[in-house]
């Protein structure tokens, strides 16, 4: 498949798809969080200083200490930052323009990365729109929506 010419020699080009099936073990902390999402509940984890990390990590983001106390947080929250995705790409949660956002759910002290379906501003209140079919993935949250 000769393409454009470059100094006389045709440029060749071939389509190449790199695919990985990735089947990842979750461990008990991430596993519990994803189990919660499947059940339409959200878990965070209490950090060393008492602040709740959501989504939960096995270790404190500041000190690195192992964390164990999972706690439930709300399914509504506040946007702490956002940017606009004008041309969505493959694999993104929405296929029309939307906001990428950081959302601090009620009861959590860190923000979750996800998308908001519609225009949004820092400080807006948003709620989870659950996917109809949930399988224990971060995309069990289909998107967030502004609470009018």
């Amino acid at each position: 498949m000769a393409d454009e010419k470059s100094g006389g020699t045709p440029l060749l080009e071939a389509s190449l798809v790199i695919e990985y099936p990735f089947n990842r073990t979750t461990g008990p902390v991430i596993g519990a969080f994803l189990t919660g999402l499947r059940e339409q509940r959200v878990l965070g984890i209490r950090g060393v200083d008492g602040r709740v990390v959501c989504p939960p990590t096995e270790y404190d983001p500041q000190t690195g200490d192992p964390l164990t106390e999972l706690v439930e947080v709300g399914s509504e929250g506040t946007v702490t930052s956002w940017s606009w995705v004008s041309n969505p790409r493959d694999g993104q949660p929405l296929d029309h323009p939307h906001a990428l956002a950081l959302i601090k759910l009620d009861g959590a002290d860190t923000a979750m990365l996800h998308v908001v379906d519609g225009e949004v501003a820092t400080g807006d209140r948003v709620r989870i729109r659950w996917a109809d079919e949930r399988e224990g993935l971060i995309t069990d949250i289909a998107a967030f929506e502004r609470i009018a």
Binding site: L16, P21, P28, A32, L34
Partner: protein
């Protein structure tokens, strides 16, 4: 204690004392009681590229479309590399002189493959081969057919089996496989260092 891995017949045992292990988290009631907690996730990743082979490989591929195997010559020691990548791996300088090589060669190394891989693998068992073409310093990879496996030996003479002319493209797949030539073997010692 972590549950046994039910996807296979492996068991998971407790770690010996003295090794750090992750403390078990406490999970709030409604989720702790769930029948099938999540333990693994499928997150496939697929990325599309428009691959460009570069100048020397392009020359090689264009040659293949004309049923020619073109190597390129080392500017210092004269060795011919095939398939060419554009640089001599010995001196790191460009190879610019193209050399048309025969599609006859000698078997420099081989392996009998019993576990197929990928959708294009031949039926197993098959012979995976490195062929040193006459005049080349490096071998090309292929499969060796039309010979009982137990008769395959290093030093045997082989030739390329090409696709029909109408199917020639800019691809190494123009060479379907290699098959024996009715010529005396070359001594294995002459093939050393040419893989």
């Amino acid at each position: 204690m972590p549950p046994a891995d039910t996807d296979t017949d492996r068991t998971v045992s407790e770690m010996p004392d003295g090794l750090w292990s992750m403390p078990q988290p406490t999970v709030p009631a409604p989720i702790a009681d769930v029948a099938e907690p999540i333990q693994r996730i499928r997150v496939p990743a697929s990325m599309h590229y428009r691959y460009t082979p570069g100048t020397a490989p392009t020359r090689f591929l264009l040659g293949l479309a004309e049923k020619k195997i073109l190597g390129e010559r080392d500017p210092v020691n004269g060795d011919v590399y095939v398939p060419p990548r554009g640089m001599s791996p010995v001196v790191g300088l460009p190879t610019t002189e193209q050399v048309e090589l025969s599609d006859h060669g000698s078997l420099a190394a081989f392996c009998v493959v019993h576990i197929g891989f990928g959708v294009n693998a031949p039926p197993t068992p098959f012979v995976s081969a490195l062929v040193l073409l006459d005049g080349a310093a490096t071998s090309v990879y292929g499969t060796l057919l039309e010979i009982p496996i137990e008769e395959v030996r290093i030093g045997m003479r082989v030739e390329a089996v090409w696709v029909d002319d109408a199917e020639l493209t800019t691809s190494f797949e123009n060479i379907r496989y290699w098959r024996p030539l009715d010529e005396p073997d070359v001594p294995a010692a002459t093939l050393q260092g040419h893989m």
